[in-house]
């Protein structure tokens, strides 16, 4: 589904990604771990098409399409979804309007008609239940006045409504207490399917107790330095990230 080959990117003149290679197949959950500044979030941002990054080399193939050629909205319509580390507040735009506009944009791209108003409400309410969200939330402005936990739940809720093929979760666990973390994880797990792939970007192993990955990759200084199964996460938890730097020094 997703084939990243030798991806390089920089911010201003500073190289951040220095040759990422990663293959994600449908149905898989990949965790990308690494110390602060290793390029984890940059990778998620570059895949989603956020501005401010310059891709200097490599390619990203998403089901036969050159992802890097597409605008952010086109990527979303193709089925890429980024759950933000810091969800954005948009005063004056209600959650229900926002969701409907997004859903209709995706549907239009697929050649489907606009969602029926009653069907939409029914579907949205069912998904809100999944994430234990209050219905009053629909008429509130997007993320405005939300707590950290509410914002993160809202990201997963949007994901549940839009049903992407590739979900990128950028530090979705940061700032969550254990109860909120469980709710978010349940939401993500409920969306696991043979057609959908998930890439979790996280600093800590904690989230992986609840969303069990098929593969774990360790990112350090813009490169994947280690890949393995879920046990790699435990190893990282036990040893920390310090040994990576020692390895890097040894390699040099």
């Amino acid at each position: 589904m997703l084939q990243i080959t030798n991806l390089q990117a920089r911010v201003d003149d500073k190289p951040i990604l220095k040759g990422i290679n990663l293959t994600v197949r449908a149905g898989e959950v990949h965790a990308i771990m690494g110390p602060n500044g290793s390029g984890k979030s940059t990778l998620a941002h570059v895949l989603a098409g956020k501005g401010g990054y310059e891709v200097t080399g490599g390619s990203v193939d998403f089901d036969g399409k050159d992802l890097l050629e597409l605008d952010p909205e086109e990527r979303a319509r193709e089925g890429v979804f980024l759950a933000f580390q810091y969800p954005v507040e948009i005063p004056g735009v209600s959650n229900s309007y926002f969701l409907k506009a997004a859903l209709n944009a995706v549907r239009k791209h697929r050649g489907e008609s606009d969602v029926d108003a009653i069907e939409f409400i029914k579907m949205v309410k069912a998904k809100m239940k999944l994430l234990k969200m209050d219905q009053a939330f629909l008429s509130r402005s997007v993320n405005q006045g939300f707590s950290g936990g509410e914002k993160k739940r809202n990201e997963i809720f949007q994901m549940a409504v839009l049903e992407p093929r590739l979900a990128l979760l950028d530090e979705t666990d940061s700032g969550l207490d254990i109860d909120a973390l469980k709710i978010v994880a349940e939401g993500v797990n409920a969306l696991r399917s043979p057609e959908r792939a998930t890439v979790l970007v996280t600093h800590y192993q904690r989230l992986l107790n609840y969303i069990v990955p098929d593969f774990v990759h360790v990112l350090s200084d813009g490169k994947i330095v280690r890949s393995g199964g879920k046990e790699l996460a435990h190893e990282l938890e036990a040893k920390g990230y310090g040994w990576l730097e020692q390895e890097a020094v040894a390699r040099a």
Binding site: A76, G92, A101, A105, Q158
Partner: protein, 444 residues
């Protein structure tokens, strides 16, 4: 050196206005106090004339198109059909309010609904109140005015004959909103000078909506003053909706004088007018007042909207919040000047002022100026102006969900304006304005 003494005519219409006041004096049946105030105002007008761009307060706003002619009063009532259409246009669907309606500056009883007022509420028109309740009017007229607008305030005092008078007795909570409606439609250009006088007793609560609606294309000049006296612990929400014809000029002064612990919240929405100048002057001359002054203005074509505000913190522990937002398109011009005075006595003042502007075309302009004069030392005062583009982070967020560039821009622009409208507490008005905004700033 020789001086040639030539008597030149004034560069503006002051002479014509002053003679009108003098002519009226002979026929006047008004009480002596009012006649003498009008005479004094005429003298002031004669002496100071109308402002020009050489006056600091009008540096960016050229009012010479207004000042050049002495607009006559509208003598012929509008055609029935125009009036009905205008009345419908000014109707706020679902607004269950006590309404007092004026046409071209004159009370229109047949269009008003001021029966069934609750006990302790008096709502009438000024012209009849001057005769019926002269002492009350004398006690209110000019009471809240501390800051004059050159020329226009005097002109209003000299010529205003009608307007709304609202008096709410102490401790009365008025359930239904009070709606002042000003409709404009006439066969020829005219001027309307209206004076609204409001007094809210201590611990009383009221919501006031003041609407100006004009027939499309109609040329006229509205010169309106609203004075609000809010006694101790009173609570007032005041919404001003200006939807004049785009060929009309609108000059207004809203003057507030508030008592201890009073809570005053206002939203001013300016959608129409060719040259528009709104002054809001609030005197916080008692402790613990909360005063909110918000505004939204949409300017397109060659129109100009100028908002001047003055918040005078005279006593300790008062707070003022001010948020003005403008969207300027085409060759539209916006002006914002926000004065905040914090007097020596006014310790613990908390004053916040923000002006945000969105420029949609290269030819649109804004002149924005905060002006803080602080004489107390233990105060919190902030001000800020942003002129700009849409927030890129917000735009990316929308796009990352599949929403296209154009649609994302439209959504954010609409939201920028809706932010002010959403603060209006009168629900029917809020819904109505949201709908009007959707027409002006469509999102689908």
């Amino acid at each position: 050196m020789s001086i040639t003494a030539t008597q030149t005519a004034s560069p503006d219409a002051r002479d014509a206005y002053v003679s009108r006041v003098e002519a009226a004096r002979g026929r006047s049946i008004e009480p002596a106090w009012l006649t003498s105030r009008r005479a004094a105002a005429a003298q002031t007008l004669q002496a100071e004339g109308f402002p020009t761009t050489r006056d600091e307060e009008f540096r960016y706003t050229n009012v010479s198109p207004i000042a050049a002619q002495a607009y006559p009063a509208a003598d012929v009532p509008p055609a029935r059909a125009s009036l009905d259409a205008l009345r419908a246009e000014a109707t706020v669907p679902g607004l269950d309010a006590h309404e007092i309606v004026f046409v071209n500056g004159r009370f229109a009883p047949e269009l008003s609904a001021i029966d069934g007022l609750p006990a302790g509420v008096r709502l009438a028109n000024l012209a009849s109140s001057i005769g019926a309740d002269g002492a009350l009017i004398e006690s209110l007229w000019g009471k809240a005015i501390k800051f004059h607008m050159k020329g226009f305030t005097a002109l209003n005092t000299a010529l205003a004959h009608d307007g709304a008078v609202l008096v709410v007795d102490p401790e009365v909570v008025v359930e239904r909103p009070i709606h002042f409606v000003f409709l404009s439609s006439a066969p020829a250009a005219f001027g309307a000078h209206v004076r609204n006088l409001v007094r809210i007793g201590h611990h009383a609560q009221v919501r006031i909506v003041e609407s100006y609606v004009g027939e499309a294309g109609q040329e006229y000049f509205t010169n309106a003053i609203t004075e609000v006296i809010g006694a101790d612990e009173s609570k007032v929400e005041y919404c001003r909706v200006q939807r004049e014809s785009k060929a009309a000029h609108h000059v207004s002064g809203t003057h507030l004088h508030l008592g201890r612990g009073a809570v005053f919240a206002s939203e001013s929405v300016s959608l129409g007018g060719a040259i528009v100048r709104n002054d809001v002057n609030a005197v916080l001359d008692a402790e613990g007042i909360s005063c909110t002054v918000n505004g939204l203005y949409l300017v397109d074509g060659d129109r100009l909207v100028d908002n001047h505000t003055t918040i005078d913190h005279a006593k300790p522990r008062c707070e003022s919040h001010e948020l003005y937002k403008g969207i300027l398109d085409d060759r539209g011009k916006g002006v914002f000047n926000g004065k905040i005075f914090v007097r020596e006595d006014a310790q613990k003042t908390d004053a916040k002022q923000t002006n945000k502007i969105m420029l949609l075309s290269d030819d649109a302009t804004i002149d924005t100026k905060p002006q803080l004069e602080i004489f107390a030392d233990d105060v919190k005062c902030t001000h800020g102006a942003t002129i700009g583009q849409l927030d890129e982070t917000q735009k990316f967020y929308l796009k990352s969900r599949g929403i296209g560039e154009e649609h994302a821009r439209a959504i954010l622009l609409h939201a920028f304006a809706a932010d002010i409208v959403e603060r209006i507490e009168v629900e029917a008005l809020r819904t109505h304005l949201e709908r009007l905004l959707l027409e002006r700033l469509p999102i689908d």
